[in-house]
């Protein structure tokens, strides 16, 4: 994890050669400590299958895939202003692409995952120009309609189980790349070894998505997007063209969402249109995670996903009541703590582990120069 200390050096105040130097910083000492901590956590998680139970591994697959989906939705809606309620479209497409690749084409599941992302990206590229014609909030329902249409289309493929769905037989997955080595490494049975392999892929996706998004929101493109969200007219007047950036973001997010969908359904090994395109599972939970943790923060979804995991563990047995409670919590958070748990922590203590804001500060060299300036 790399946190660049100083990104752009900006010189403010011309004239005297010894003008004070100013720096735009993103990183802080705390964020560098957090980066080291995060690295340690990731290493520990990579090694975890050596000791963890299969249940824990399966739970963590859920945590990692939901974290990836939440980070993706957060960058799309929070930073990009594209409030989609139809991200289940890309989870479902990824899942169906996986089944099509593995069952009908006989491709190795691991290779099918990026192909699944590709399919989701292509569909997003086609749908984008249509949906972008809808004004802000109507884009939300438009994306939902698109997801429903895709669900109904997938239900038409009889070879993929039609409306009732189908399962991948274990034999289709027995040749999966890396399975034998995972089996040998931990002395596991094929099913458990498959979970470990999927666990690593899910972890890789979650880490890659988080790092990628952190880098994106700190980049010039991310800054341009934030500027246009705050004030579209002003951003245009300083030459920020965000249409293209948003379109690209929409496609890249669909690509990653499709891959996550493939990973989720590789583990489930059973698919149906209703489940793969479920608005509750792939969008409501995801939005809940982001709202609880904090929109427009990198840390928020991490807190959110752990909260959801805890709630599911203790409350899922209550069925509908559990969803009522989740919904009410989300509404209360939006009303009384709109920046979420992490937003509140940031506000109270000014802590940022994955800072995305730029801070202007004087360099020590610059202030020395300034002192010399005054001395003259």
């Amino acid at each position: 994890m790399s946190v660049t200390a100083a990104r752009d050096k900006v010189e403010i105040g011309r004239g005297a050669g010894a003008a004070p130097l100013w720096q735009v910083r993103v990183g802080t000492p705390l964020s560098r400590a957090a980066a080291i901590g995060a690295l340690a956590v990731v290493v520990a998680l990579v090694l975890l299958p050596a000791v963890a139970s299969r249940n824990l591994i399966q739970d963590l697959i859920f945590v990692f895939t939901m974290l990836a989906l939440a980070q993706l939705w957060n960058v799309l809606a929070g930073w990009g202003g594209l409030v989609s309620v139809g991200q289940q479209a890309f989870v479902g497409l990824g899942a169906y692409a996986l089944f099509a690749g593995v069952v009908t084409l006989g491709i190795d599941p691991v290779f099918t995952i990026p192909l699944a992302g590709l399919l989701a990206a292509v569909v997003a590229a086609v749908l984008g120009p249509l949906l972008f014609r809808l004004e802000g909030p109507y884009f939300a329902i438009g994306s939902w309609v698109a997801a429903e249409a895709l669900r109904l289309i997938c239900a038409q493929f009889k070879t993929l189980g039609g409306g009732t769905g189908m399962s991948i037989s274990p034999s289709d997955l027995s040749q999966m790349i890396g399975l034998k080595s995972a089996q040998a490494l931990f002395g596991l049975r094929p099913a458990a070894a498959r979970d470990v392999l999927i666990y690593w892929i899910a972890l890789l996706l979650a880490v890659a998505v988080t790092l990628g998004i952190t880098a994106f929101v700190r980049s010039r493109m991310g800054l341009a997007l934030a500027a246009s969200r705050d004030n579209a007219a002003a951003a245009r007047s300083v030459g920020v063209r965000t249409g293209r950036i948003r379109y690209l973001l929409w496609i890249v997010v669909a690509f990653a969402t499709g891959m996550v969908g493939a990973v989720v359904y590789l583990q489930k090994a059973r698919i149906s249109p209703d489940a793969a395109f479920s608005v509750t599972d792939w969008t409501a939970y995801v939005i809940f995670i982001v709202v609880i943790g904090g929109v427009r923060t990198i840390e928020g979804p991490m807190i959110g996903v752990l909260t959801l995991w805890g709630l599911i563990t203790y409350l899922a047995q209550y069925g509908s009541l559990y969803l009522v409670v989740l919904g009410i919590i989300a509404i209360l958070i939006m009303l009384f703590m709109p920046k979420g748990v992490w937003g509140e922590i940031e506000r109270r203590w000014g802590i940022r582990l994955f800072p995305t804001q730029r801070v202007l500060s004087r360099t020590s060299c610059g202030s020395d120069l300034a002192k010399n300036d005054l001395a003259k």
Partner: protein, 288 residues
């Protein structure tokens, strides 16, 4: 083959979709709020009418009036207590709050009423039909639904363009701050708008609940149909919304005639097609 009966069926179905759409269109037009719980609120109204008629044994017509009042008050309160706090330049908070509300209502209904399909009982009215020439007959209930939709559009049109309240709605929609200078209390105007939206939804719920079974899970689909009717018809035009509902109804019935599995999909595809060729809808408002 697609016969006249299919077309009639589609047009009549369109009346129900237009009724779904009116409430959604109304509050978007006035306050730029997209209520993602709209479909679930329609379902809530249907269940309230069901309870009032079956548990209290009150006749359907009286029950309707009662629930209209209840839902108007609920809408007013929803705006003043919840939505008002999140309306602003950022579109995210109101979308998330109404999405949360959708989940709460849907699962709340599931808790209270269970997952079984229900239907509103309207006695002989449900099965009566009007016979036309040429062996065609039209169900009285679907016909009433379409007529109700036409009356509802005409009434809303009247309120919007002929009353002081309607002027206040349009003025607030144009510029809320300047509207205040006219003595218009923006908060009350918004709350009344949401109240009317939910009151109209009760009418939608009844016309729908008489002709089809419903269960708690189908709210979001009602939202999508409502939305499709609004976009197909063109934003900001109430008569356009009626036509949008009819186009959607036709697309669905014609699709279903070709292959029963294609009913809903045909509606979605018709919507996407309109978005492709006429992104501002068939009858966009003349407003600048």
């Amino acid at each position: 083959m697609i016969g006249l009966d299919t077309v009639i069926e589609g047009v009549l179905l369109g009346g129900v979709y237009a009724l779904f759409a009116l409430g959604l269109s109304l509050i978007f037009g006035i306050m730029r709020l997209v209520n993602l719980a709209h479909g679930d609120l329609i379902l809530l109204a249907a269940y309230l009418v069901l309870s009032v008629t079956t548990v209290l044994g009150i006749p359907l017509l009286v029950a309707t009036l009662l629930v209209v009042v209840v839902m108007f008050v609920a809408g007013f309160a929803l705006q003043r207590l919840v939505l008002e706090r999140v309306l602003g330049d950022d579109i995210l908070p109101p979308l998330l709050v109404t999405f949360g509300l959708s989940i709460v209502i849907q699962n709340g209904l599931l808790l209270v009423y269970g997952a079984d399909s229900r239907r509103l009982q309207a006695g002989a009215f449900e099965s009566s039909s009007v016979t036309l020439g040429g062996g065609l007959s039209i169900g009285l209930a679907p016909l009433t639904a379409l007529l109700t939709a036409i009356v509802a559009v005409a009434l809303l049109q009247l309120v919007f363009y002929r009353t002081s309240l309607g002027r206040a709605f349009r003025a607030t929609s144009d510029n809320p701050q300047i509207a205040q200078l006219m003595g218009i209390n923006e908060r009350s105007v918004y709350a009344i708008a949401v109240g009317i939206s939910l009151a109209v939804s009760v009418i939608a719920a009844i016309t729908f609940g008489i002709r089809a079974n419903f269960d708690p899970s189908i709210g979001p689909a009602r939202l999508l149909y409502a939305f499709e009717a609004v976009i197909i018809g063109g934003l900001g035009s109430l008569w356009g919304t009626l036509v949008g509902g009819i186009v959607l109804g036709l697309a669905q019935t014609i699709g279903a005639r070709i292959n029963p599995e294609w009913q809903i999909l045909s509606g979605h595809l018709a919507f996407l097609a309109v978005l492709m060729v006429r992104p501002r809808g068939l009858f966009p408002s003349r407003r600048p």
